[in-house]
């Protein structure tokens, strides 16, 4: 049976939609800490299924009330970055196996030629503004998407001005996301019953933008970006800069073993074959 994912033009939508679900859970966990804990537990105790609880005005009000809590935002951002890292790279491998290419808006495109994987970057620094990655089916309000990008532009400018050594890709993404969510969450005032939907959408989009911006910032400082179990990226400066991607051996093995329809025969050692 062919998956419907094979017909999707790029992997961006899959990642953002899955991240929205992850964000919903992370926001729930956030409400189970601190001052909102008792109120959220009381709400949970009155329903059998999570959806009615999350779409209740009471839960939404708790979330809106917590939206300015810096500790809450930092925890949400850290968890989101951790989850996005796995979601992103697993999706990349999956798409390369199924489709021979995997495009992430604002990041670049991986292409597989037989078993060799190459990468064509979409360097954000070459563009006047961060391109929108929002798709109609995934985002409830394009204003959220615009807000995410405006705030991220400001944060990116701050990073450029700092000129200091950068943290690792996940650490920088997390730092950017804390800044983004810290600016977005307090100004989101959705209807209480829709709060989880809006906050989760904003968190998913913001985490994706922070991720691609962090990658761009890291690679442009000429730092090789190494992703364990995936590969390493190195900027090759020039009139038209390119990024070389070298896949890890384990990643190549994963691709090789999953794209070839037939199982191999036993390896015969040279001596035995002779």
């Amino acid at each position: 049976m062919a998956s419907a994912e094979t017909t999707q033009p790029d992997a961006t939508s899959s990642v953002i939609r899955l991240m929205k679900h992850q964000a919903e859970g992370i926001l729930c966990e956030g409400l189970l800490t601190g001052e909102t804990r008792a109120g959220f537990e009381a709400l949970l105790g009155t329903a059998r299924d999570k959806d009615p609880v999350l779409s209740r005005a009471g839960a939404g009000s708790l979330l809106i009330g917590k939206a300015s809590d810096k500790e809450f935002i930092a925890q949400v951002a850290t968890r989101l970055t951790h989850d996005l890292e796995a979601v992103f790279w697993v999706e990349m491998g999956e798409q390369l196996i199924r489709n021979t290419s995997c495009k992430f808006a604002g990041f670049g495109e991986f292409k597989r030629f037989d078993l060799r994987v190459s990468f064509i970057p979409e360097l954000l620094s070459d563009r006047p503004t961060i391109p929108s990655v929002a798709s109609a089916e995934a985002v409830p309000n394009f204003a959220i998407d615009a807000l995410c990008r405006v705030i991220l532009e400001r944060l990116r400018a701050e990073i450029r001005d700092q000129g200091a050594a950068l943290a690792s890709l996940p650490a920088l993404a997390s730092e950017l996301l804390i800044g983004e969510l810290g600016a977005i969450f307090p100004v989101l005032f959705p209807p209480a019953k829709d709060a989880f939907h809006y906050f989760a959408s904003a968190a998913a989009l913001a985490s994706y933008y922070a991720w691609v911006a962090a990658f761009d910032a890291t690679i442009l400082r000429n730092f090789p970006v190494g992703v364990k179990d995936v590969g390493s990226f190195t900027l090759v400066p020039g009139p038209t800069s390119r990024v070389d991607f070298v896949a890890d051996r384990e990643f190549e093995e994963l691709i090789r073993c999953n794209v070839q329809p037939d199982l191999p025969h036993e390896r015969i050692p040279p001596m035995a074959a002779a």
Partner: protein
């Protein structure tokens, strides 16, 4: 790598435990939230609440998506090392298949286990991943405490998972089921047991919940059931038309499948264990009985989400971690069990690094765990 002239892999089993599947692929690990009012537990109320928050987390979607791809990679490597099969021989599920027993989580699980592709959709679009693609006869599964969490029996688990997946072996509360699997010249006797304790009413938490939320108890009926069935198999070579040995009882490898840990003292527990027990009373005694009277060779268990290989009074025990859930400061992973033509049985641990599965560099988790009794059965 196995070379010609060296030991050759004859069989390979994958052991997955504590999958903790949520309602669907895309559902976040935090949900479903358990919406049950907690009575006043006094000192342990906080702990019981934490149990639901921490232990009722569900699967991590990237793990679920990557696992079938990684198993395909392992199968490739096995083939290159001389493994004769075109699929892994057996999938062993050690309980807590679902994080909170529900029809939707078991539908997700059985399609994921049995199909080569899994596809679903939320309100916004389609999600999909590869499936494990195992045939029903190649799956052995026992329930865990989460598969009957706040349930008074295993009806939901067996109705929605065991029967709909058409598994030959169904386990009932405080009962055992015997499965015989023959691979070439070798036979395995798997002893599947459910020593869980149950609540009185579905979806209610009473003051005695500490006895059944996470703990088990090997009751007299279970001991008698195991003893009777194994005695019969030992004496007559068969239990019924489907469960029969082609060789003598002593030539088969006897493996106990149980969700709970045989020896909890091997695992760090701390205050949590005092306030919310995770043990299984009588399990050690049962293992001892099976060793003495029925030559038990090995026990496979899950439950504590800690991978470990240990010896319990002469019986090799394999403790499997959670394969698809990510817990803070714990290893996510699974064991591959390889049986060689020499009779050696090797357990090999693989872990989730945060992005991918990979062989566990901890050498203590990959080693010989048993030796097959001499094969006397002619190959089929």
């Amino acid at each position: 790598m196995t070379r010609r002239g060296g030991p050759r892999i004859q069989n390979a089993f994958v052991v997955l435990s504590d999958l903790h599947f949520g309602n669907d692929l895309y559902e976040s690990p935090t949900t479903p939230l358990l919406n049950v009012s907690l009575p006043n537990f006094g000192i342990s109320e906080e702990r019981v609440t934490r149990f639901f928050e921490d232990r009722c987390r569900g699967h991590f979607a990237p793990c679920v998506k990557r696992l079938p791809r990684y198993l395909r990679q392992l199968l490739w490597q096995l083939r290159e090392d001389g493994f004769p099969g075109d699929k892994l021989d057996l999938l062993i599920l050690l309980g807590d298949q679902s994080t909170l027993a529900s029809a939707s989580s078991y539908r997700f699980l059985r399609e994921y286990v049995s199909q080569t592709e899994y596809e679903t959709r939320d309100g916004d679009g389609v999600f999909g991943c590869s499936g494990l693609g195992f045939r029903s006869p190649d799956v052995l599964a026992i329930p865990g405490n989460h598969d009957k969490l706040l349930r008074k029996n295993l009806s939901l688990y067996n109705d929605e998972f065991t029967r709909k997946l058409d598994l030959a072996e169904q386990v009932e509360p405080q009962r055992c089921t015997i499965a015989v699997r023959r691979f070439g010249a070798r036979e395995f006797i798997f002893i599947l047991i459910d020593p869980s304790t149950y609540c009185v009413e579905d979806l209610t938490i009473e003051k005695d919940c500490r006895s059944h939320l996470a703990a088990g108890n090997v009751g007299k009926n279970l001991v008698e059931d195991v003893r009777t069935k194994l005695m019969f198999l030992k004496d007559y070579g068969q239990l019924d038309a489907d469960v029969k040995l082609a060789t003598g009882f002593s030539s088969a490898m006897k493996v106990l499948l149980v969700h709970y840990a045989v020896d909890e003292t091997r695992f760090r527990s701390g205050l949590d264990e005092l306030l919310l027990p995770h043990g299984c009373a009588g399990l050690g005694e049962l293992v001892e009985l099976l060793r003495k009277d029925f030559q038990l060779s090995m026990v496979l268990h899950g439950h504590l989400h800690v991978p470990l290989l240990y010896n319990y009074n002469g019986v090799q025990v394999i403790s499997a971690s959670t394969a698809t859930r990510v817990d803070e400061n714990r290893k996510t992973g699974f064991f591959l069990i390889k049986v060689f033509d020499t009779g050696a049985v090797i357990a090999e641990h693989h872990l989730w690094t945060g992005i991918a599965y990979t062989p566990d560099p901890d050498k203590a988790l990959t080693r010989e765990v048993g030796y097959f009794p001499e094969a006397r059965v002619p190959a089929a």
